[in-house]
Symmetry: C2
Subunit: 202 residues, 2 copies
DNA sequence: TGGCCGCGTTATCCCGGGTTAAGAAGTGGA
DNA sequence: TCCACTTCTTAACCCGGGATAACGCGGCCA
């Protein structure tokens, strides 16, 4: 056991949001957990490595991102305490990863081996249901993001981000926020200048 | 029973892609199915109506789209024979729909009541697992779309669409393809002109 | 048959954002 | 402490794509 009693309780409560999770199953899940520490800037997932673990962030902050052929990065997600971190699509497809995951600050993870989880879940109605609800919520989040790219301007996407993740704003370098909303750092800087000027006039 | 024996077999095979599906469960599912016909241009889902059904397209073609406050449409998806059609995110969240679904041609659907399916699945390991795999694939598809918006230009997105859905190209009005890839009809026309010119030179 | 409408194309003008470059401010390591 | 690096900003220039409008074409209906 690598997790303190109160933390285990908190995690159990968190997971129970998605559906019932018996004490017995929670015990078995917890037995799979391996803690892992990341230094600032350290990677815990890189392309072409097979995906063998997923993780919950205990503390700190990570970013998920792609890098294209010309070396340009596109940030897919930021994940903080209590949130899930993994190259999820590749894990689902059992394909080698094409995403990087990097710590933006000293970070503590709780990692779980995929095969271990699958073995547990294979014959458990409860865990299948939990896993289903879990993916469903991630699906909804992706669809929300699709909506933002289809219907919102870059400026609106930025304001949406500020409104939704205020806790991250001060810890994430601005050029990575720009990447997350699909524009360049220079463009975001201009947008911020525009917004600041118009709100000063108001 | 509203479905012919061979069609039922084909559907069973299709669903079995996602995982095992016993004959007994398939019978029960099939008993929930209600056929529905749509005329060209007809809607079968509209915003603010509660979502009570999902569907499989038997024949024809539908589009899923948003409409913003200024009346501008953004196409989320096209779905043809054998594919799933529903305001899925809203169905997951049990929220009133914010998407339109409209037939682009005379279309035959097989609809299923959500509550009926849920009741069936609630205590079935097999159906939970099937549903989980199903959402997982949809999640992967959304992430692929996120990737395209983050890393590809409009022209690349268009070529990607042509390569992936060639069977739809001739049946979908071009301005809706434009909307799907996130640009205006005028812009798509220009892109096509550009591509045609450069490929003529080659 | 004639008129109408939806669709695609093209032209013009404009704007948002990409690109490049330079400089200022902050940060961390030797 | 000082130097190097990262981050952010600003400016200049360019380009893709948005907005609008005009035109042509084909389908549809009276």
């Amino acid at each position: 056991m690598h997790v303190s009693e109160p933390e285990a309780k908190a995690l159990h409560a968190k997971l129970s949001q998605w559906g019932p999770l018996s004490a017995a199953n929670w015990e078995k899940l917890l037995a799979l957990a391996e803690p892992r520490s990341l230094a600032k800037q350290e990677f815990w997932s890189e392309p072409s490595k097979p995906v063998e673990h997923f993780a919950i962030v205990r503390s700190g902050l990570v970013r998920h991102f792609y890098v294209d052929a010309r070396g340009r990065e596109s940030v897919k997600a930021f994940r903080g305490p209590g949130e899930f971190s993994a190259p999820y699509a590749e894990l689902i497809q059992r394909k080698p990863s094409r995403t990087f995951i990097q710590a933006l600050a000293p970070t503590e993870l709780l990692t779980f081996e995929v095969t271990g989880f699958d073995a547990l879940a294979e014959n458990s109605l409860e865990l299948q249901r939990l896993a289903r609800r879990f993916v469903e919520q991630h699906f909804v989040a992706k669809e929300q993001r699709e909506y933002e790219f289809l219907q919102l301007s870059a400026e609106q996407r930025y304001q949406q981000f500020c409104a939704e993740r205020p806790e991250h704003l001060s810890h994430i370098p601005q050029h990575q926020v720009a990447s997350y909303i699909g524009i360049t750092p220079v463009a975001l800087s201009r947008i911020r200048a525009r917004v600041a000027k118009s709100s000063r006039r108001t």
